[in-house]
């Protein structure tokens, strides 16, 4: 994870489009400027960034489901539960499952675990829209390649 750059996903562990499921790895770094403020002397991953990590995992799943032709945007977070603190150097697994693939939107159930223990979960709504421009699409595709979401060749 590079928290400052909102790069929350390190590697896609598995994706099954027919089942509408994804599992990704996200490793919390030892150091980050985020921890300088949250909190001094007691570094914790902010809950909003855990929600962002869930949103990105679900977003990856939706991107692949849309064959990378449309961008995903987080639209709603429901029933979010932040169950425990997340410290630096924690290995997180983020899983997401499509609950409903609607017209221009997708609902998902998404969760984070560490060592098999529940960290947080939420039901998310993403809107899907055509890419605003080629720069954005190029960046998204590059991240998809780096994380293993997109495997070409």
């Amino acid at each position: 994870m590079r928290l400052e750059y909102f790069e929350m996903i390190d590697k896609v562990e598995s994706i099954d489009l027919s089942a509408g499921k994804i599992s990704v790895h996200a490793y919390v770094p030892k150091d980050s400027t985020v921890f300088e403020g949250h909190f001094p002397g007691h570094p914790l991953v902010p809950g909003v960034l855990l929600i962002e990590a869930m949103a990105q995992a679900a977003g990856y799943l939706i991107l692949a489901n849309e064959k990378f032709e449309r961008m995903t945007f987080l639209a709603a977070v429901k029933e979010a539960k932040l169950r425990t603190f997340v410290l630096p150097e924690t290995a997180l697994i983020v899983t997401s499952e499509i609950e409903h693939d609607g017209s221009g939107y997708t609902m998902s159930k998404t969760a984070i675990t560490a060592d098999g223990k529940k960290i947080c979960n939420a039901r998310l709504t993403h809107r899907t829209l055509p890419f605003e421009n080629d720069d954005l699409k190029g960046h998204v595709l590059e991240r998809a390649r780096v994380t293993g979401l997109l495997q070409e060749g």
Partner: protein
């Protein structure tokens, strides 16, 4: 068995926190019942599940934005319910 109108009105009442009695056949979902675009995604989700269809929200919005349809064609309750009935019939055919 509840009618399409009753089911949709129940959904909108629940999601939009609208008094059920205020929802009539002639209510405009957006301007009268104050369901905004984000709430409408929840409404569409509930309608999709309730009626086992996929409400083509994007197509409707494109038609409206392109001037090929009026918002009233889709968002007056009786028209919305008629569209849902059509979608159900098409799926059953």
């Amino acid at each position: 068995m509840s009618s399409t109108f009753d089911k949709v009105a129940d959904i909108i009442s629940d999601i939009g926190d609208v008094e059920r009695e205020k929802i009539t056949q002639d209510s405009h979902v957006i301007s009268d019942l104050e369901i905004d675009s984000l709430d409408f995604l929840d409404v569409a989700f509930s309608i999709d599940k309730e009626f086992d269809i996929k409400v083509p929200v994007e197509d409707w919005m494109t038609e409206i934005n392109d001037g090929n349809a009026n918002a009233e064609d889709y968002f007056i309750m009786k028209n919305l319910c008629a569209k849902i009935d059509e979608l159900q019939s098409e799926k059953a055919a």
